[in-house]
């Protein structure tokens, strides 16, 4: 296929990028003893992007022949030509960089394939049953296993020639506990780039099941959290979510150009000096393989470690080749497309806070009146860095001692203000949001994490 793609690019009328993406996805989901999904999905085709007359044209095809690809190039070129008059600021060119050439492999598709469909199905069925039967208050449970196995070729007019193989796995359990009219949900999931050994390294199916069940049952008897400004210790999952949702999106260069809260702040102190925030393609930190690992992005740019905030100072935005040219910097390898028929957009990869040097126990012991917050519910963040996330478990901390579990807590604030209030980071590190997806018109597999972090923010409750 590589040769067909190269020949088609060589013959294309202008700058052209071809991305052949063959994705095989498996999903098995069981809810309350019912198999909700036992599904295989194949999405395979070529995404064609052309830069002509100062603007972009995009098309795609599932015909993997030279004729099919040529026709898609023609359609994309025509789309660019037809729309170019509507564009006021022409793209003069893309940022130069050493584009990826060669073979790049992450994940462990072979190890994953060594487990039979029967084995995968049984694991999901058993885990759901175990969760459902774990406590008399559990009314329903869900368990889901997913695989994304990708093979890609990226070839462009200016020299990208990369063959990429990747495998990303997820396993998640949720439990619904009920008493009378009251119902509470406990959830725990894990997502990695790797095979089963990486997937279950920290969270075995048994532990995921026990945790989800315990949280749901404990929340049943928990009182509501009170609202108000508070000193909190965030767990790595909430730190990852904050780094991704509330800071990360504001430093995506397309958002910056539209006037996000990070615009005009380059080189300025935007967080406490203790804070270093990184978005990295490879998993250069942590014991396990992160769920958003990427070696080469979908423009063929090698994906490195991008220090976004260094000791509190904003150092870099996240770029594709178009925005890098605009800002006069090197692209950071953040252009990602979900499937073959999606165009690359600026997306994060693995976004985290570097750990500090405080022992976890000390973080808790030094809180006079506050909360330890664990586990993320759904959440959203604005371009002005204002965010709101649900919290699964909120524990009171009174005079340095852990207290009651509270339900219904949320956290909110201005993410940069929250980072300015950070006064301690633990020495631990965990990848913690690899089971989730980032949505920006398209999905993307991302991860995030960090240490436990002490800061001040607004806790919402009742």
């Amino acid at each position: 296929m590589r040769e067909t793609l190269k020949a088609a690019v060589a013959n294309a009328p202008g700058w052209t990028e071809l991305r052949l993406h063959d994705r095989r996805a498996l999903q098995i989901a069981v809810r309350k003893g019912e198999v909700e999904s036992a599904a295989f999905r194949k999405n395979c085709g070529v995404g064609v992007r052309v830069l002509a007359h100062g603007t972009w044209g995009f098309s795609s095809t599932d015909r993997l022949t030279r004729e099919g690809i040529d026709a898609a190039i023609q359609e994309a070129t025509l789309a660019a030509e037809t729309s170019s008059a509507g564009r006021s600021e022409r793209i003069e060119g893309l940022a130069d960089c050493e584009l990826a050439v060669g073979d790049f492999k992450t994940g462990d598709a072979e190890e994953t394939a060594s487990h039979t469909t029967e084995e995968k199905t049984s694991l999901v069925v058993d885990t759901e049953r175990r969760t459902r039967e774990s406590h008399s208050s559990i009314r329903s449970a869900m368990c889901r296993y997913s695989e994304l196995v990708d093979e890609k070729w990226i070839v462009s007019s200016d020299g990208a020639d990369a063959h990429i193989e990747d495998a990303k796995l997820e396993f998640a359990v949720s439990a619904v506990a009920g008493e009378g009219d009251d119902m509470q949900v406990g959830f725990q999931g894990v997502g990695v780039t790797g095979g089963w050994p990486e997937l279950f390294a920290r969270w075995t199916p048994e532990r995921l099941s026990e945790h989800a069940s315990k949280v749901a049952v404990d929340l049943l008897n928990a009182p509501y959290a009170p609202g108000g400004s508070a000193t909190v210790v965030l767990n790595p999952e909430l730190v990852g979510l904050l780094a991704h949702e509330a800071i990360g999106h504001t430093v995506e260069a397309d958002f910056v150009l539209s006037g996000s809260a990070a615009a005009d702040r380059m080189g300025k102190q935007v967080a406490s000096e203790l804070v270093t925030l990184v978005d990295s393609g490879p998993a250069v930190i942590g014991a396990e393989s992160a769920g958003g690992v990427l070696l080469v992005d979908d423009e063929g740019v090698p994906a490195g470690r991008t220090v976004v905030i260094e000791n509190g100072v904003l150092r870099s935005y996240l770029h594709d080749r178009e925005t890098a040219a605009h800002f006069g910097v090197e692209p950071t390898g953040n252009a990602r497309a979900w499937q073959y028929d999606d165009q690359p957009l600026i997306r994060m990869r693995n976004t985290y806070l570097e750990p500090g040097d405080s022992p976890y126990e000390e973080l808790i012991a030094s809180v006079d009146d506050g909360f330890l917050l664990k586990g993320a519910g759904s959440g959203q963040a604005d371009a002005n860095a204002e965010f709101m996330f649900g919290v699964q478990e909120a524990y009171e901390i009174k005079k340095g001692k852990m207290g009651r579990l509270l339900r219904g807590a949320t956290i909110s604030g201005d993410a940069f203000e929250v980072l300015k209030s950070v006064d301690a980071l633990s020495s631990d590190f965990e990848w913690a949001i690899g089971n989730g997806y980032c949505g920006k018109g398209q999905a993307a597999k991302v991860d995030g994490g960090g240490p436990y972090v002490r800061c001040k923010l607004l806790v919402g409750g009742r």
Binding site: A38, E75, L78, A79, E118, S258, G379, M388, S412, L458
Partner: protein, 445 residues
């Protein structure tokens, strides 16, 4: 006969031959054209076609599903092998039986005239119209992204039980997303959108103006105060806080799994009498309008809540069999998804009070334009930030709010609805008016 029906016939036959006891194939063929806006400019034009084939099989009452995005022989063979393979591995379930066919009533207005000819040029024109309207409203408005898209296609479904249906349709939509900026002050995000079966039925200019008004109005927002008091939920906030949990709770699957607060409440009051909600698969220009569901059955138009009383649950074949009744045609999903119970278009009946009168009747309260937060459809607990919110003082809209949170429980709130507006907003497949609530806990910054 449609090519897609013939293709589905072939796939069903191959699946039976490969060992499936029952088989159902759904195929789609789509053509998409769209123009995207980014950073106050046109960014990209896209034009493409695609195919999809989803095969569901039952083998000894075990489920297997496979999806492929190509109709070539290899892909079809792979879908059959994978679906039958998945079913062989899955545990058996006595309720896994495909439904018998029901008569389909074709719907008018599903396919716009000239839908096949809709091209990049028209999409450019419409998207620029949207951009110009937003930027022209106020120079502080900045458009982060937007899109005008046209989609035309056909879907077909065939099952070994005799289900056989196909439909051609078109759908056009536009959206605009961004904020207003004044010096270092950035307003809340806002996004507005609309969709219709023909391009002519869409008005990108009014979508853009709605967006521009909202972001400019939210500039200079101040942190609100903490109190318990009346809150008016604008349509988008009402959809998220009130309607989504209702839509989730009326699914028979949630009822059977005991994750619905509506379990055992059919015929009982579940909300204030001001609320009536219907699931309407025939809604003109609705995004989920269709003459058949994901199992090829005709979706019944069903009152869900009538004057506060819970009237119906939504069933697909699986959940219907469990309750020893027949499906009411509410299997949702596309070719790439396993059928699951789902709403179609949700329509909340308008009330008789105007939004202005609602506001005039409140001495101290909040108008929530959007809600950004957590809603748990199981417990009904919600908590989150008010976006683009306005304080209401002395019966008038006052200062814009930021950093203001509201929290409560959807199912308790339903009982405290004091009014539903005459005006409503169409959000693809959901039509929702403004909803006034008696008392909510509001937390200021």
């Amino acid at each position: 006969m449609s090519d897609l029906l013939t293709l589905c016939d072939r796939v069903v036959e191959a699946a039976l031959k490969a060992g499936a006891d029952e088989a159902e194939a759904m195929s789609v063929r789509v053509r998409d054209v769209n123009v995207e806006l980014q950073k106050n400019d046109l960014q990209m034009a896209r034009s493409m076609s695609g195919d999809g084939l989803g095969l569901r099989v039952f083998k000894e009452r075990s489920l297997g599903f496979a999806y492929v995005n190509s109709f070539d022989d290899d892909s079809i063979a792979e879908s059959v092998e994978r679906a039958v393979g998945m079913a062989t591995a899955a545990p058996s379930d006595e309720f896994n039986v495909l439904p018998d066919p029901t008569p389909i009533v074709p719907l008018d207005g599903m396919l716009a005239d000239g839908a096949d000819d809709f091209g990049v040029e028209s999409a450019v024109e419409q998207s620029l119209e949207m951009l110009r309207a937003a930027r022209g409203y106020d120079p502080r408005v900045t458009v982060d992204s937007g899109e005008f898209a046209g989609h035309a296609g056909e879907k077909a479904i065939v099952s070994s039980r005799g289900v056989r249906a196909s439909e051609r349709s078109s759908f056009y939509y536009c959206y605009i997303f961004g904020m207003a900026k004044e010096g270092e002050t950035v307003s809340s995000f806002d996004f507005q959108y609309d969709g219709a079966r023909s391009a002519a039925a869409l008005d990108p200019r009014s979508v853009a103006l709605r967006f521009a008004e909202n972001v400019v109005a939210s500039l200079g927002a101040v942190k609100g105060e903490s109190f318990r008091g009346p809150v008016i939920l604008a349509p988008k906030a009402a959809a998220e806080i009130l309607i989504d949990p209702i839509a989730s709770s009326v699914r028979a699957s949630a009822v059977q799994r005991e994750t619905s607060k509506f379990r055992g409440k059919l015929g009982h009051s579940v909300s204030s009498a001001a609320l009536s909600v219907t699931d309407d698969s025939t809604l003109k220009d609705g995004a989920s309008t269709s003459s058949f569901d994901r199992e090829g059955l005709r979706p019944e138009v069903l009152p869900l809540i009538e004057d506060g009383v819970l009237r119906n649950f939504l069933y697909d074949a699986y959940t219907a069999r469990k309750d020893e009744r027949s499906s009411n045609g509410h299997a949702g999903g596309g070719a790439s998804s396993v059928p699951l119970v789902s709403t179609t278009n949700i329509v909340v009946a308008n009330g008789d009070v105007s939004v202005d009168d609602m506001i005039a009747g409140i001495d101290r309260g909040v108008l929530a334009t959007r809600f950004s937060g957590n809603t748990d459809p199981v417990s009904g607990d919600f908590s989150g930030s008010v976006k683009g919110g306005r304080m209401i003082r002395g019966g008038k809209l006052a200062e814009p709010l930021c950093g203001t949170m509201i929290a409560g429980n959807t199912f308790e709130m339903l009982q405290s609805i004091t009014g539903v507006s005459r005006e409503s907003e169409r959000m693809f497949g959901t039509v929702v008016p403004y909803v006034a609530l008696e008392e909510i806990s509001v937390t200021g910054g």
